[in-house]
Amino acid sequence: MAVQKFVVACFDEEKTLFTAVKQVRKTGYKIHDVFTPMPIHGLDEAMGLRDTSLHTAGFIYAIAGTTTAFSFITWALTYDWPMDIGGKPFFSLPAWIPIMFELTVLFSAVGMVLTFCYLCQMAPFVKKDHFHLRATDDLFVMAIECTEKTDESEVSDFLSAIGAVEVTTQYKETGWWIGRYDKETTIFGKPVEPVVAQS
């Protein structure tokens, strides 16, 4: 939980956003994140984000599912309560494979959804600060992290020069908290500006 200072730049076109991301990285400013209304192909590569490890997690969950099904059925049908089913041996693997397969899918699916939510810090009532409300509508919003040494006006000028339509300096909470937007009037003591729909 820490409130940090950010310089927030808004772009209204994908094209300018891409060149801006490239130039910001080249100049050496640190991009906190880029918020866009829709998924943009290639932006993660342009920002230099590493590949997600969600697949690896999925693989581990899948193996866990297979192992759970296999070990439980083995224990139940060969040790705890052996049953003669159609004269088959107690340990009859082919009959278990559908169940092992289903549990593999179930574990990996549920596990990956939960991991995805954890990585994105998404859950019911988990709230995060927004940099710009129009990031969900029609603006591409780039947040740049500042330190004590950062000269904001220099950053702002730079961002305006590379095509930002709107540049602001904001103090934002980087972590998450539990709450409801509609019930909250202040977040950590800061006044929240009311959202007015614009025609």
Binding site: H41, G42, H55, G86, G87, P94, I97
Partner: protein
């Protein structure tokens, strides 16, 4: 951008394909002398079974490359357009291998060897089980349907290849492009129906399953199709990698390779799914007339091939092709494509051989010396190489006026 459109056949490649074909012909001659010319039908059957397994396998594989074009066309896919000429070129092998397969099948039906298709024997009229199947398993239907099928694959494939080549020297307007796509879709749909009535149902039953005439499995055709389909994709991949290594196909990138790898991975799983569905139901019901098929394979001398088949076609693709990095690596993909082609050849081998190859004295099944089978398989590989590069050299390598080509250029996974 300029494209290297003309493929020139290297002398070495030509030589290699000729050598492989010579090996194939030599293997056939040797096998004919040692087995095929024997007056004992069980000895001769080993020769015919080898020809049957090889010719049917390679025919279905090259035919699957045309199905790749058809399936992606029907799905309105664009990503494959930068290398679709490669699979079109491979599918020109259909008439050549089709004629070989047709000759083998006709020789089996009209020759005096009834070990392989024993339902075609006169004695079958005394067999109650075969009398009930005679509506499907009879000589006239077999011959007519086989000829119609091979002719259908050939002519429809020719039509679809012709459509693709017809726009090589005239760019299309938007309206013409829409008409062209619609035309392609209609012909692909017709091909898909013919494919569904042949490869996906009747043809594997007629050509392969009827070797075990008393046994039956409704999964058999799908399982055979899955085998040939994944092998067909592996074959396309091999040719794409070969051309790419020699500086052709500039538009093909790692993204396309990645998607071909995904296809190989996914359809290996699909094959396993069908293989297991067939196996598990038979294992579970445990009815002697059904389990007899697996008795020879699972407990008999074909045990080794049976498990190797599963390891090569399921475990290896599952574990090796799962990672993104290995699907984007030319070396890994090439190795896996070769492995998959070999694995499904082995799969067809164990479909045909156990019932067809018997010891003449003891009437017990046994694994023959596989050297001759490998030789014949190499002959077919040489034939595919020989025919495919000729088609590649005749036409431009990229369908540069296809309306969806841009989708393939910007393809991104």
């Amino acid at each position: 951008m300029t494209l290297t459109d003309k493929y020139v056949i290297p002398k070495k490649f030509n030589m290699l394909s000729l050598v492989l074909m010579a090996v194939g012909v030599l293997s056939i001659i040797i096998l004919f002398i040692t087995h095929g010319s024997s007056s004992n039908q069980h000895v001769a059957a080993r020769f015919w079974a080898s020809l049957l397994a090889n010719s049917v396998y390679f025919l279905l594989v090259v035919n699957a490359t045309m199905f790749f074009i058809v399936a992606t066309t029907l799905a309105w896919g664009g990503w494959q357009r930068s290398f679709s000429r490669v699979s079109e070129a491979i599918s020109t092998c259909v008439p050549v291998i089709g004629i070989i397969a047709l000759l083998v099948l006709l020789a089996l039906i009209f020759g005096n060897n009834h070990v392989i298709y024993h339902w075609a024997d006169d004695h079958a009229q005394n067999d109650p089980a075969l009398i009930h199947k005679s509506g499907f398993l009879n000589k006239p239907f077999f011959v007519i349907w086989t000829i119609l099928t091979i002719a259908g694959w050939w002519l429809l494939g020719k039509k679809i290849r012709g459509l693709s080549r017809s726009i090589d020297d005239r760019p299309l307007s938007v309206e013409e492009g829409k008409k062209y796509i619609w035309n392609n879709t209609v012909w692909a749909a017709i091909y898909a129906v013919v494919f569904g009535l042949t490869v996906l149902s009747t043809i594997p039953w007629l050509w392969l399953m009827s070797i075990d005439a008393h046994w039956f499995s409704t999964m058999y055709s799908w399982y055979t199709f899955a085998s040939s389909w994944v092998a067909g994709i592996a074959l396309i991949t091999l040719f794409v990698v070969y051309l790419k290594n020699n500086g052709y196909l500039e538009l093909v990138t790692k993204e396309h390779l990645h998607d071909l790898g995904k296809f190989m991975f996914a359809f290996s799983i699909f094959w396993t799914y069908l293989w297991f569905s067939q196996f598990m139901l038979i294992w579970y019901a445990n009815i002697p007339e059904e389990t007899i098929y697996f008795k020879q394979r699972l407990q008999g001398p074909y045990r080794g091939i049976f498990w190797l088949n599963l390891i090569i076609n399921f475990l290896a693709p599952l574990l090796i092709l799962m990672k993104r990095a290995s699907k984007r690596n030319y070396g890994t993909i090439t190795m896996m494509a070769v492995l998959i082609l070999f694995g499904h050849w082995l799969d067809f081998y164990q479909m045909v051989m156990p019932t067809a190859v018997m010891d003449p004295q003891t009437k017990l099944t046994h694994v023959p010396n596989m050297l001759a089978d490998f030789g014949i398989a190499l002959g077919f590989v040489g034939l595919i190489m020989f025919v495919t590069v000729r088609s590649l050299a005749k036409h431009p390598l990229t369908a540069k006026n296809h309306p969806f080509l841009k989708e393939s250029i910007i393809h991104h996974t």
